[in-house]
Symmetry: C2
DNA sequence: CGGTAATTTGAATCCGCGTTCAGGGAACCC
DNA sequence: GGGTTCCCTGAACGCGGATTCAAATTACCG
């Protein structure tokens, strides 16, 4: 509406957020610059003022939120003390919004052919695995977990979450959200040779 | 070259194969009809003679090979007898060509917004999980495996393979092809509560 | 207040690419 | 060997959409 609605550097994040929304709805391939502009209440060339090209804008949008995600997640997980509880908290946090996984899937697919996106994805994954591994190492040290090879266990748990989340995001009836979390938890118990504490939420039926 | 190089229904599969190749290289989004036509040594409109639209052609290409993949895999696996060996054979077969997983990732991403592709993907996944589950059930019946919930174990193994294959396809240095197979095997042993027989190939160093 | 820099816009440009069209050569059938 | 069908082609069409441009509007600064 007004030609200068906000000062300097509120614009870029705003555009990136709008782009991420549109991507989540339409997918990267079907996202037009005009869509993002409309969501911002702005004309298409305005976006080109802040970003060099559509490609650059979408690439940035695809990776902008992820750091925040990990920060939130690490904050949530580090709150609790015992490794078992931390692991449960992590698994819950990672599985509670499986729909959002669609954005990761987009990132993966575009990372197949874009070196920068590939590097970004790897950075996120390293961070993610490290978060898991830290818990595993603590659990082993505390005698709670039995894992001969913590990095491998962490890798397996991460992959398990990825694979199941993808299917959940795709609406697989076999992998509903509750079943997703259950399966990861049960499998993690096997992989870690430990019983994990029940989660706080509890079940619906008494 | 020659105007009628092949009879009736050799053309469609040929086009689909070419399309699958191009998709594997460029990705669905960047695949042009002209690319596929060129690979077939044919003009673009020729493809439109066999397929109604680009979209239909690509969708079909994305799912054409998969049935063959499962048939091959099931044939390979059913050759051996003991559940443990069958499981190892299945895991090896599924992990030996991680690069090909890129095509699956493309399928997933497009399935997010295309009902037919989504249904096709689910069909494949059901079949894939069933193959795993059959082995698990046999192993439990034979007393070789210890799995309280075979469908869940199968789901977990499938998800594990998916998640790790995706990272391998993305060139993650942490998930090289050998490490991929090792990790799946080691994790499957945990999930199934069983030692799996060493694979035939053996290791490189003596 | 004027001058300058920052931000946005509407309109125009430009191009890639899917698709359409009007034929044209080959096989097949009689 | 003439008609019919099948498969394909070159050229043209047309559209969607990214990017460019010149101008306008606004903020900031003296």
């Amino acid at each position: 509406m007004s030609p200068r609605p906000s000062i300097d550097h509120i614009r870029r994040p705003q555009i990136l957020a709008a782009a991420a929304e549109v991507i989540a709805e339409r997918g990267v391939a079907a996202t037009r610059i005009a869509d993002v502009a409309e969501r911002c209440g702005v004309s298409p060339p305005a976006l080109l003022y802040w970003f060099d090209s559509k490609e650059q804008l979408l690439a940035e949008a695809l990776t902008a939120d992820d750091d925040r995600f990990y920060e939130e997640l690490e904050a949530r997980v580090d709150g609790t003390a015992a490794p078992g509880e931390r692991m449960v908290a992590l698994i819950e946090a990672a599985t509670e919004n499986a729909e959002d996984f669609a954005l990761w899937m987009e990132l993966w697919t575009w990372a197949l052919r874009d070196a920068e996106l590939r590097a970004a994805r790897e950075r996120f994954d390293v961070r993610w695995r490290a978060a898991i591994e830290a818990i595993v190492v603590d659990g082993v040290a505390a005698g709670e977990f039995d894992a001969a090879d913590p990095p491998r266990a962490a890798l397996a748990i991460a992959a398990l979450i990825d694979g199941l989340s993808a299917q959940a995001a795709l609406g697989d009836p076999e992998v509903s959200n509750p079943r997703l979390a259950e399966t990861v938890l049960a499998s993690a118990e096997r992989l870690l040779g430990a019983e994990l504490p029940a989660r706080a939420g509890g079940r619906a039926s008494p």
